[in-house]
Symmetry: C2
Subunit: 257 residues, 2 copies
Amino acid sequence: MTNDNPTACLLIIGNEVLSGRTRDANLQFLATRLGEIGIPLREARVIPDVPETIIAAVNECRARFTHVFTTGGIGPTHDDITSECVARAFGVAWEVHEPSRVAMAAEYARRDPPIEFNAARLRMATLPKGAVPIVSSETMAPGFSMENVHVMAGVPRIMRAMFEALAPTLKGGAPILSHTVHADYVYEGQIAAGLSAIQAKYPALDLGSYPYYRGKGGGVALVAKGTDLAAVDQAAAECLALLAGFGAAHEGEPAPE
Amino acid sequence: MTNDNPTACLLIIGNEVLSGRTRDANLQFLATRLGEIGIPLREARVIPDVPETIIAAVNECRARFTHVFTTGGIGPTHDDITSECVARAFGVAWEVHEPSRVAMAAEYARRDPPIEFNAARLRMATLPKGAVPIVSSETMAPGFSMENVHVMAGVPRIMRAMFEALAPTLKGGAPILSHTVHADYVYEGQIAAGLSAIQAKYPALDLGSYPYYRGKGGGVALVAKGTDLAAVDQAAAECLALLAGFGAAHEGEPAPE
């Protein structure tokens, strides 16, 4: 797919995803939402809580993509090192962000019983110099944007609130539109040549072919994606006609198993 | 965590994961199984069906990690380009693998009605020169290993069968052992300093802190990981004692919500 849209990269930071303890729940949400606002996700990486790895990934990706989103590693414990690493990646100081400190102190004092604003919690108000906080209703500790790098929590509920607080500030491109058709008992090996011919007619679109498996058999779903609605719909209609040559073809995704 | 274990990287290849259409189901399985056989996963990347991106990622990662595993992009359609890209990454020919072609032809002929062994399906028997097929019971089309790069299907059922066929041929290290403790109504900001002190005592281990949220409240789980069982258990016991200073602490993961 070739277009002038801005691009996004996601860095999922956390040993717990790489060890299999935690199944990531943020990639699919962000992929979907970024497509909707026309900043398609072009790469995602899961990286460990290792400073050199985080710093190198931030610097490589902020140069290659319009926006870099990170999830994870902004809590108060020793393995929460994303914020410090972003400061090091940008070569700026990592210092207490006074408005965030004041806001957190006020909120901690308001609780009954009051929450102690200790050194560990103060780390969550410590940001790279020049960062703009991302404030959400879900947590007292902010995420932040440092130029084109947007640092968010790993907990899905908090990440989503931070993303929705951030999204209106991002300059998106044309939304990525999608049109899916499918047919049971039709297989990729049958339609591959015809699908290649349709893809060749629509170089500005992405045509994807996805087999599915069900207890009773399987089939294939074909997905046309792009920013031009008429072209997307026309390519999907040709895919539907292609499938209909081999079986009963339908609009939309196949029913869930 | 510092040890002499071999390392693994996973490349998840497919536009459908980056668009949000498909939620990856392979990372967590492979992360868990690779930890069990002592080849811990150190990075995972989701990359699009773009030849230059795939070739660059394969070449970067096969130099940095002991093993690279790929999922996706080995079917018969135009967007299945992993195999060709691995050949290009290694600078070798991409050619019909005669034993695979013969096996697939025999299986296709055996079906009732027989399956046509057309050009699209022949692509699935086309491998980088020098590759060793990964044969599984779940599909006629093979995966393959090219030196330290192991190319598998994206469909989870097939990927798992391919991995289990491959696993006995991989030289693993010491299994990564894990011991988890948790406490409801205890929060990371309370135990951060104590946890840092435990981590400092056990530099060969990874201590992770993971908040959880439940309808009734929340808590924190602490996970000790490493290859030395006695050290893992001892660190976990210290984490349990730390948590017990703030609330009712328990062995194991918190109950699912």
